[in-house]
C-alpha cells in the first residue's frame, strides 16, 4: 500500500500492518502433531520399540554423566541434520540459495521478517571465501539461516541459529561420509558449517568466520 510513497509518514500496509508470527507454543504443538503422524505411519511396532527405548533412557538418566551423553547425542543428531540439509541443498538446482548475492548487505536484510533473529552475515572474499547467498532451512526443530559460501569450487553451507545462554566455544572439526563439518558458538549464535572441501580448508574457514 503506497498511496504517497514519497511521504514516509503516510500509512502504508506493508510497513504498518502487523505481520503476525506464529507463537512458540503453536510451533511446538504443530511439531508434536506432525511427529505423532509420522510415528503412526511407521506402525505400532515402532511405537513399542520407542517405549522400550524410552524406559532405557529413563534408567540412563540416573547416571551421573547422563547430561554429557545427551549433549553428545544431540550434537550427533544435529550433525546428521546438517549433513542432510547440505546434501539436499545441492541436489535440487536453485535450492542452494534463495537470495543469490555476494553482497552481505543484500543477504542480511533478506532474512528480516523471515526468521526471528538476525544472523551475522560476513563476506569472506578477501580471505578467499566469497559469500554466495542465503536461504532458510530447518535444523534442530527450528527455522535457521543458511548462508552459502565457496571454498574454491566447493560450496559451503553455514547454518546459524540462536543458542540461548550458550557461551562461546572454539570451532570443533569432524568428518562424516566424506564431508567436513565444523561447529562453534559465538555471541549467542550456534554455527554449523559443512562442505566437501578438505578438513584443513573448513578448519581455516571456520577460524576466520569464528574470529570475526
Amino acid at each position: 500500500m503506497n498511496m504517497k510513497p514519497e511521504n514516509p509518514l503516510e500509512p502504508d500496509v506493508a510497513r504498518d500492518a502487523t505481520y503476525h508470527r506464529a507463537p512458540e507454543a503453536l510451533r511446538e504443538k504443530v511439531s508434536a502433531s506432525i511427529k505423532d503422524m509420522a510415528r503412526a505411519e511407521r506402525g505400532p511396532a515402532f511405537g513399542r520399540w520407542m517405549l522400550l527405548a524410552a524406559s532405557f533412557a529413563a534408567v540412563s538418566f540416573v547416571s551421573w554423566n547422563a547430561a554429557l551423553m545427551t549433549a553428545a547425542s544431540h550434537d550427533n543428531a544435529i550433525e546428521n541434520e546438517v549433513l542432510t540439509a547440505h546434501v539436499r541443498s545441492l541436489m535440487v538446482p536453485g535450492r542452494l540459495a534463495d537470495v543469490e548475492s555476494t553482497d552481505q548487505h543484500t543477504v542480511k536484510p533478506w532474512f528480516a521478517g523471515k526468521i526471528d533473529f538476525a544472523p551475522p552475515v560476513r563476506d569472506l572474499a578477501a580471505d578467499g571465501y566469497p559469500l554466495t547467498g542465503g536461504r532458510l532451512d530447518y535444523i534442530d526443530g527450528r527455522a535457521v539461516a543458511a548462508l552459502t559460501y565457496r571454498i574454491r569450487l566447493h560450496p559451503v553451507n553455514v547454518f546459524v541459529w540462536p543458542a540461548a545462554g550458550a557461551s562461546d566455544s572454539a570451532p570443533k572439526m569432524q568428518t562424516a561420509k566424506g564431508y567436513s563439518i565444523a561447529h562453534w558458538t559465538r555471541a549467542g549464535m550456534r554455527y554449523w558449517a559443512v562442505t566437501d572441501a578438505g578438513p584443513e580448508e573448513i578448519s581455516r574457514f571456520a577460524e576466520i568466520l569464528a574470529s570475526g
Binding site: M1, N2, M3, P5, E6, P8, L9, E10, P11, D12, V13, A14, R15, D16, A17, T18, Y19, H20, R21, A22, P23, L26, R27, K29, V30, S31, S33, I34, K35, M37, A38, E41, E81, T84, A85, R88, V92, G94, R95, K114, L136, D137, Y138, G141, A143
Partner: protein, 180 residues
C-alpha cells in the same frame, strides 16, 4: 530421507506465513492457532501433492481453505462474496520504498498511530479484499501466486487489489479524520 524430515525442512519454515494469513482471516489469535494446527495436519497428509520447490504458496492455499471452512462454520457473516464485475481492473503499481529510520519522537508517535489505524482498517475490510492485500503486501507473493492460492484468475487478483487498496485508503482517511 523420511517424509517427516522432508516436511520439516520444506514446510515448517513457512509456519509464520501460515499463521499470519490465518490470523488475518480469523482476526483472532486463538482461532488462528486452531486453523493453522488443522492446516498443518492437512498439509502433512497431502504432502505428496507439493510439486513446487517453494512450499509457501502451496501451504497458504491449504491455510486459506481451512480458514474459509472455519469461517463458514463459525462466522458465516464474515464470508461475503465479492462482485468482481463491478470493479475496475486498473491496478495500482506498488513502488517499493524504505521505511524511515528517524528517531524523532513525533515521527515515532505518528507511526504508531498509523500502525493502529492501518491494522484496524485492514481488519474491517471484507475478507476477499483483506486476504489479497495481506498476501501481496505482507507476504510479498506475486499476482500469479496469489491467483493460485485463492483460486481466482490473475485479472481478478489485480482488480481486488486495486479495489481493496481504494477501500482501505478511504477507511484509513476516515479513521484519521476521526482521530484528529
Amino acid at each position: 530421507m523420511s517424509r517427516h524430515s522432508d516436511f520439516s525442512r520444506s514446510v515448517m519454515p513457512h509456519l509464520d506465513a501460515a499463521y499470519n494469513l490465518a490470523r488475518w482471516l480469523t482476526r483472532n489469535d486463538h482461532d488462528a492457532e486452531d486453523v493453522v494446527q488443522e492446516a498443518m495436519i492437512r498439509a502433512y497428509r497431502f504432502f505428496e501433492s507439493l510439486r513446487e520447490a517453494d512450499a509457501r504458496p502451496w501451504l497458504l492455499a491449504i491455510v486459506r481453505n481451512t480458514g474459509y471452512t472455519w469461517l463458514a462454520k463459525n462466522r458465516p457473516a464474515d464470508v461475503v462474496p465479492i462482485d468482481d464485475t463491478s470493479t475496475l481492473a486498473s491496478d495500482v503499481v506498488t513502488i517499493g520504498h524504505t521505511s524511515p529510520t528517524e528517531t524523532n519522537p513525533e515521527v515515532i508517535l505518528l507511526q504508531s498511530a498509523n500502525r493502529k489505524i492501518v491494522n484496524q482498517a485492514l481488519e474491517d475490510l471484507p475478507v476477499g479484499y483483506r486476504e489479497v492485500l495481506v498476501m501481496r503486501e505482507l507476504e510479498d507473493l506475486s499476482y500469479k501466486e496469489i491467483a493460485s492460492v485463492a483460486g481466482i484468475p490473475i485479472g481478478t487478483v489485480m482488480s481486488r487489489l486495486s479495489r481493496g487498496r481504494d477501500l482501505l485508503k478511504s477507511a484509513i482517511e476516515l479513521r484519521m479524520r476521526k482521530a484528529s
